[in-house]
């Protein structure tokens, strides 16, 4: 399918694909096995200017937006989703600063993220606050010109590896959702520490850790927007980043599909290539169609966001929901086409199937995505009357 990319977008895709194939592919299985954070590859991506593609030129970026983020994430995911999410999580961490930071904050932090000199991360989830963000227990108490943060964030992608964190904490517990605020915290701030690295089913090259705050004092000027805006900031951030998860899902599924097609053309059973069996052909045809449909939705959503749409929450949720559910089905089918070989770690589809699952869970479970979509449908219908 031709998506009419601009010359620059084609370059972004070509470069990301080259890095994925030349630098990531040879080490993907090892990174997965050893659960090793891909610092070497992060440096390659930085050197190639790929951390600059999703940020504006005035902050050291190359002027691209969500669409460019999606292109890179998709290409990396085709080879290794753990690498892709480490990259994309830095974009996620940059979005609150880009969308809600003041000029000083943007100038201070965004160029370092754009150059890849520093990775960013976003800290929302807690042990008792996942889908229900209102359950956040981490607090930030204003004390003179500082905030004092206490609490623990859980399952933070790039935790420990990133230098710049946007953390959602309660500045006024009584107000529930409206009492949350977003604060930038830098690694190395006294009282800010990291918990153990989690052992995961998939995306094992990526780092997932707890962020532990014990009387951590942060300058008050690190507050993003105003007190009480934390929940809105988190939601708007996810609206902009969810197509990135959709792109991740499309990439994983494309990788699985490619592997399955290649395998079906080689594998001989009953004296013929299994690609000659209609049972296999129809599976491949469905997989390819679903991948393309998801890609079209992800790209359309990314373009909608980049064109400045006021509210893309519904579409953003749809792109993440559809692509991730598709990805799970396609990777399961890819393993099926590989048969017993697909279940073994010698072939890449086993990893892809493990990597696929998280796309249905993080940045809002797919159940939450359906809530968002339904809520918008009902709101839209009500407003027409």
């Amino acid at each position: 399918m031709d998506y009419f990319l601009t010359e620059e977008q084609k370059m972004v895709r070509e470069l990301a694909r080259r890095i994925a194939e030349e630098k990531v592919a040879p080490v993907a299985a090892e990174l997965d096995e050893k659960e090793e954070f891909p610092w070497e590859i992060m440096k390659e991506l930085a050197q190639a200017d790929l951390f600059a593609v999703f940020l504006p030129e005035e902050y050291g970026g190359l002027g691209g937006k969500t669409f460019e983020l999606c292109l890179v994430t998709e290409e990396l995911s085709r080879i290794c989703s753990g690498v892709a999410v480490s990259y994309a999580a830095s974009a996620l961490g940059s979005f609150p600063i880009l969308l809600f930071g003041n000029e000083t904050q943007r100038k201070e932090f965004l160029p370092k993220i754009a150059s890849g000199e520093k990775l960013a991360a976003f800290g929302l989830t807690e042990a008792n606050a996942g889908s229900d963000a209102a359950g956040i227990e981490t607090t930030a108490v204003r004390k003179g010109d500082k905030y004092v943060i206490n609490g623990t964030k859980q399952w933070i992608t790039n935790g420990g590896e990133a230098e710049i964190y946007t953390v959602i904490a309660m500045t006024d517990k009584k107000r529930g959702n409206r009492g949350a605020s977003a604060i930038i915290v830098e690694k190395g701030t006294p009282g800010f520490d990291f918990g153990k690295k989690e052992k995961k089913m998939g995306i094992r090259a990526s780092a997932t850790r707890e962020l532990v705050f014990q009387d951590c004092e942060v300058p008050a000027e690190n507050l993003l927007g105003k007190e009480g805006m934390g929940f809105i900031i988190a939601m708007r951030t996810f609206d902009a980043s969810r197509p990135g998860i959709g792109a991740q899902a499309v990439g994983i599924a494309q990788g699985a599909l490619d592997a399955a097609v290649d395998y079906a053309r080689e594998r001989v059973q009953f004296g013929q290539k299994i690609s000659s069996f209609q049972a296999i052909q129809h599976m491949l045809a469905d997989m390819a169609t679903h991948v393309e449909a998801a890609r079209a939705l992800v790209y359309a959503t990314a373009r909608m966001i980049d064109s400045g749409a006021k509210d893309a929450a519904k579409e953003s949720a749809m792109s993440k929901l559809f692509a991730s559910d598709m990805c799970m089905r396609v990777t399961v089918d890819a393993v099926q086409i590989f048969g017993g070989y697909g279940y073994m770690k010698d072939y890449p589809v086993e990893k892809m199937m493990r990597d696929a699952k998280i796309t249905q869970i993080y940045e809002g479970t797919n159940q939450i995505q359906r809530n968002i979509i339904a809520l918008h449908l009902i709101k839209e219908a009500a407003s027409k009357k």
């Binding site: 010359e7 620059e8 080259r18 390659e44 050197q47 190639a48 190359l62």
Partner: protein, 261 residues
């Protein structure tokens, strides 16, 4: 430090075919790449600039489409490119190529170091680098695997030998050819690719180079390719059977037959 890197656009080796009638490489439909050894030269040139400042110019001779190789080099981080392209250059052997490149380097004015890959993967002669140095009248070190020190007017480098390596000091301006041990070439950057797209590539013809017109192209090439062929695959050997005494007797018999003893 002004650095000039000479590169060659070559056919992707994995797909090389020879036209049996003309004994030349079939280039149609074969993807063209920068000679892999030259990518180490480019990387080293960029690294020296990053350390010492200055500029890197990439130079090649070839048909108009060789411009693509120069753009790839610029995408890696080279500052500018010069393409020598003229029908008069067609049919150049290593001597005529060295001459043309050396003339072009003279035209570029002051330079400190010329870097070439040790050889091209299509011709495999390893002659052009040293040929350029000879014609420019500057010293050179071939097969450099490491630059230990480089500063104004001075370079100390390790030259890879079949048995170990030598450390050689040399004054600048001079030329080196590099082997793959020297570095790991970087991939292009996005900013580099954008720049490469916009950069104007200078195209120089034979007139621009000046010098002796009889030394360019086919006229300046004493090399004649009589025939290119793929060596016959070696036939399987013969294993003598039987007891050791019988085998020895049979072997002596065989050697006598072939008049080897």
């Amino acid at each position: 430090m002004n650095i000039i890197v000479c590169i060659k656009q070559v056919p992707e080796t994995a797909e090389i075919r020879i036209d049996e009638k003309t004994n030349t490489l079939v280039r149609e439909g074969v993807p063209a790449i920068i000679n892999p050894f030259d990518t180490y030269a480019l990387e080293e040139g960029i690294r020296i600039r990053e350390k010492c400042g200055g500029g890197v110019t990439v130079l090649t001779m070839g048909p108009p489409q060789a411009e693509q190789a120069l753009r790839e080099a610029i995408a890696m981080g080279v500052d500018s490119g010069v393409l020598l392209s003229d029908k008069a250059f067609a049919g150049s052997d290593t001597l005529a190529t060295s001459y043309a490149l050396s003339r072009a380097i003279r035209q570029m004015g002051r330079f400190d170091l010329v870097i070439c890959g040790k050889q091209a993967i299509d011709g495999d002669t390893a002659q052009v680098g040293p040929g350029i140095a000879e014609m420019l009248g500057i010293p050179f070190i071939a097969y450099v695997r490491k630059i230990e020190e480089i500063r104004e007017g001075y370079i100390r480098a390790e030259r890879l030998m079949e048995t170990g390596y030598q450390i050689i000091e040399m004054s600048l301006p001079s030329l080196i050819t590099v082997v793959k041990e020297i570095n790991e070439p970087r991939l292009p950057s996005l900013r580099g690719m954008l720049k490469a797209k916009k950069t104007n590539i200078s195209v120089w013809d034979v007139e621009k180079l000046g010098g002796d017109t009889g030394r360019f192209g086919l006229d300046g090439s004493p090399t004649q390719v009589i025939r290119i062929f793929t060596p016959e695959p070696r036939k399987g050997g013969e294993i003598l059977q039987g007891a050791v005494e019988e085998q020895v007797a049979a072997l002596i018999e065989r050697l006598k037959e072939t008049k080897l003893v």
